[in-house]
């Protein structure tokens, strides 16, 4: 806080000319700053000016609801000012402008910062006040269906870059007055609006305090995306795993808020950040809750399996082949040995080559324009899959392993990038120390995760520290919704009860319409 220079507020003077000069000096010579000077009053003797930034304001609104009334209702203004002994601006505010939100200010700095956010300022000769009129209205993206978190049965809306729309999306899901949106501005230059959203009475107060503390600590020039916030508030910034969750889906964010988490929204980012974020959350998907419980539980276990496979499979293959050939069942070993015969590289190198090639392909396909991306993946598939094998550079089983790993790695999205790093580490270790090394590294990672916290909540809860009911009900298994009676205890919500206990549906006791056959 000490670093920010407190600019002494310069008050407006009575002379419009001076004021405009001051403002021009502060704003500089940018072409998008419009200062429209005019005369208002029937005898055209009062100078006035309207200041706004082109592109940030709704032009229609400015011309229809500000400029037009000011210029066409001259007589009316004169009458009004004449009638009552009120000030010119007060009269304009109360009777002329047909815009919803109008405030008065006397400070040049606040005028400037308002203008920067898309408001329109109006100054008049002889007045030490200025009107700040809310005319925000820039080109914005419509609400679209989520691109990255696809759900089959769930709602199809997602956040956009506009903060207000995003908060509105949350409000529409939770019509509880307890939904609190605390806003603040972060970034010396960007002055980005940041909103902490939580439900009062569920989210523990100390969590909100902690988040506020951490957000206030941020003192940087600009916040361009939610990712900036993420990196500034993480508990263990050197960890390879994420400790804050992100989502582009309002339904996911509201669901997490209802469990007792808090969300952070940033203007200009189509993502919301939720804290605390725990390991098991990575394996939960909105569809789990929209679908019936059995398949949802099954899919969660499959996700865990896929995640483990995506990390360990290449490593295990390398370790078995180059350290523990005795562990292959004999028929499999003979097949594998036959496939390995005559290949020039050691298995580790082969595996690393394929894995890195895969990462290259993935990254290239991701960044290239969509049309080119497809070409890349086709070429890549051909090179990796077909040519490398038939040229005898890489064994066919290795291609199968890497392909299976690649597919499995996309199952658990929040850990996809973490997984890629762990996979490489595991493969390298497997090549040098075999399974022993892999286990040792796994133990190190496990103890790291066990010590890790996300805003005070142990990262591996509810698995360890153990909370049996949470573990059984909503971790790898998903109990039916009517059985999820309480919010997760590890989040320490203020209101533990979620629903009344007798939610299990049952057939009607005596149905009058029962068919008698």
């Amino acid at each position: 806080m000490k670093a920010t220079k407190k600019v002494s507020p310069v008050n407006l003077s009575r002379k419009l000319e001076d004021n405009l000069k001051n403002i021009k000096d502060s704003l500089g010579e940018s072409s998008d700053i419009i200062i429209r000077e005019m005369k208002i009053s029937s005898n055209a003797n009062v100078d006035a000016a309207v200041i706004y930034i082109d592109g940030l304001v709704d032009r229609d609104l400015v011309s229809r609801d500000i400029l037009q009334p000011l210029m066409f209702n001259l007589q009316f203004i004169k009458d009004k000012v004449g009638q009552k002994n009120s000030s010119l601006l007060g009269c304009i505010k109360s009777s002329v402008l047909t815009v919803g939100q109008v405030e008065t200010t006397e400070n040049i700095d606040s005028i400037i910062s308002s203008v920067m956010t898309g408001q329109t300022a109006m100054l008049a000769e002889g007045s030490i006040q200025a009107l700040v009129i809310d005319t925000k209205g820039w080109e914005k993206r419509a609400i679209e269906s989520p691109e990255n978190e696809i759900s089959i049965r769930g709602p199809k809306d997602s956040f956009t870059e506009t903060l207000r729309i995003n908060t509105a999306l949350l409000r529409r899901k939770i019509r509880d007055p307890n939904l609190s949106l605390v806003s603040m501005q972060i970034g010396q230059r960007s002055k980005t609006d940041v909103v902490i959203a939580y439900i009062k009475g569920i989210t523990p107060d100390n969590l909100i305090e902690e988040i506020k503390q951490r957000l206030k600590r941020i003192d940087t020039d600009a916040i361009l995306d939610i990712g900036y916030i993420e990196q500034y508030i993480e508990e263990n910034p050197l960890s390879l795993v994420p400790t804050v969750g992100t989502s582009e889906r309002p339904d996911v964010v509201t669901a997490r808020m209802l469990e007792g988490r808090a969300a952070i929204l940033v203007d200009g980012s189509p993502m919301a950040l939720t804290v605390p974020f725990l390991f098991v959350e990575g394996f939960q998907n909105p569809d789990d809750y929209y679908a019936r419980p059995f398949f949802a539980s099954f899919v969660r276990i499959i996700r865990l399996l896929g995640f483990l496979l995506s990390i360990y499979l290449p490593g295990i293959y390398v370790a078995l082949k180059s350290f523990h050939p005795e562990l292959f069942p004999t028929p499999l070993l003979i097949t594998v040995a036959a496939a390995r015969e005559g290949h020039p590289f050691p298995v580790v190198l082969e595996a690393l080559l394929m894995l890195i090639l895969f990462e290259i392909l993935r990254e290239a396909g991701l960044r290239l324009p969509r049309s080119l991306g497809q070409a890349v993946s086709i070429v890549g598939a051909l090179v990796i899959g077909q040519a490398a094998v038939s040229a005898g550079l890489v064994g066919a089983p290795m291609v199968i392993v890497v392909a299976a790993t690649a597919i499995a790695s996309f199952m658990v999205v929040p850990f996809a990038d973490t997984g890629a790093l762990f996979r490489l580490i595991m493969t390298i270790v497997a090549g040098f120390l075999g399974l022993f090394g892999m286990i040792i590294i796994s133990l190190e990672v496990l103890s790291h995760l066990a010590a890790l916290r996300s805003l005070g909540v142990p990262y591996l809860s509810p698995v360890t520290p153990l909370n049996t009911s949470d573990l059984i009900k909503d971790t790898w298994l998903r109990a039916p919704l009517w059985a999820l009676g309480s919010r997760p205890a590890f989040l320490d919500p203020l209101d533990k009860k979620r629903q009344s206990p007798d939610q299990k549906p049952h057939p009607p006791q005596n149905n009058p319409n029962e068919r008698k056959s």
């Binding site: 069942p329 120390l433 075999g434 399974l435 040792i440 103890s447 010590a451 698995v463 360890t464 153990l466």
Partner: protein, 365 residues
């Protein structure tokens, strides 16, 4: 307080199970009792539980105090420190012995060419980094590793049921009673009463009144697992069980279900790595925390690596070969461990009772 973390009695139990399974998961205790090993384990469990009663009673009498602080209170600063140093030596030596078990097993079965020093250092680094994260992280690790290990043991036992020959367990009590009792005592001293190192950890229970039950529960569960493993090994390997160095490892090699579920012995090795990791970490933690308390250090973290490396050096120098290690563990260790496991805690407890320690201060009962 050097350690700020607190663990629940459940976490303590699980950690203790992992500690007891430690190296006994691969070196099934009571091996010299042949097919009666399971009886020796059961008897040893009883003796071990009695021993555990002594030290838990002692530590829980002084809430929130480790044995080092208790020694200072009971014996005064000088003698107390001396006794504390004896304990520290025991923990350090025990840690070195477990490291030895580790290295001998892996170098025999899986990594004949990897230098011992490298292997020991790798293990020690992982344990040191875990100890560095505090008792909470260690307890949480055990909460994942121990259930995993026990389920692997059960899975493997299931797979071996077709190879069981229960005749191998007969006749029960084939051994002369003296030999059986000796074997039972050696089981009590390794692994059950080794849990005496928890005198360093019991102080961090969040509800100390539950400590006694937590310890006995853990010992019983670990004992049951060991009994099952021992019965399985005898039933599968028959008289060869006494001949093999690592019977569990050999027994699991027998598994062959349709040519696919076969060659699963690596699971035993993995179990050993994980449980040994817990055991070494607990011992390292005990040594390091104790040393920090003896020396009145501000934090125990800076001395983790030095002590760990000391443990490695001790492991490298204390035995020359496998048979010496086995000889020591079978013949000398059961007597060597008695003062640390029974006598000192018992004397401390008696003196504490006589001197009516801890003194209750300020009228609090």
């Amino acid at each position: 307080m050097l350690e700020k973390g607190r663990i629940s009695s459940f976490q303590l139990s699980v950690l203790l199970v992992g500690f007891v399974l430690g190296s006994s998961i691969i070196i099934t205790p009571g091996g010299d009792a042949g097919h009666d090993a399971w009886i020796a384990i059961a008897l040893g469990l009883m003796e071990g539980s009695l021993i555990a009663l002594i030290f838990t009673a002692l530590v829980l009498r002084f809430k929130d105090k480790t044995i080092i602080e208790i020694n200072d209170l009971v014996f005064g600063k000088v003698i107390g420190k001396l006794i504390s140093v004896l304990f520290l030596w025991y923990f350090l030596h025990l840690g070195a012995l477990v490291l030895n078990d580790y290295v001998h097993f892996f170098r025999l079965e899986l990594y004949p060419a990897t230098p011992r020093t490298v292997m020991l250092l790798i293990i020690m680094l992982v344990c040191a980094s875990t100890v560095n994260r505090g008792i909470e992280a260690l307890a949480r690790c055990s909460l994942i590793l121990v259930p995993l290990t026990i389920s692997v043991i059960f899975l493997v036992t299931m797979f071996l049921i077709p190879h069981f020959n229960l005749n191998n367990l007969m006749p029960i009590l084939d051994l002369p009673i003296g030999k059986l009792l000796w074997s039972a005592h050696s089981v009590a001293s390794f692994p059950f009463a080794e849990s005496v190192v928890f005198v360093m950890i019991l102080a961090f229970l969040n509800k100390s009144e539950k400590g006694g039950r937590a310890v006995s529960k853990a010992l019983i569960i670990a004992g049951l697992v060991l009994i099952i493993a021992s019965i399985r090994n005898s039933a599968v390997l028959g008289p060869m069980v006494a001949a093999y160095n690592y019977p569990s490892y050999q027994a699991v090699q027998v598994i062959d279900i349709r040519d696919i579920f076969t060659r699963l012995e690596i699971l035993v090795a993995i179990n050993f790595i994980t449980m040994g990791f817990l055991k070494i970490s607990v011992l390292l933690y005990g040594t390091v925390l104790g040393l920090a308390q003896v020396l009145n250090l501000q934090s125990y973290r800076p001395i983790i690596l030095p002590v760990g490396i000391l443990m490695v050096i001790l492991a490298l120098t204390n035995v020359a070969n496998t048979i010496e290690l086995f000889d020591f563990t079978h013949k000398i260790y059961p007597i060597y461990a008695v003062p640390f496991q029974i006598i000192i805690p018992l004397i401390t407890l008696i003196i504490a009772k006589l001197r009516q320690l801890p003194k209750t201060d300020g009228g609090m009962p």
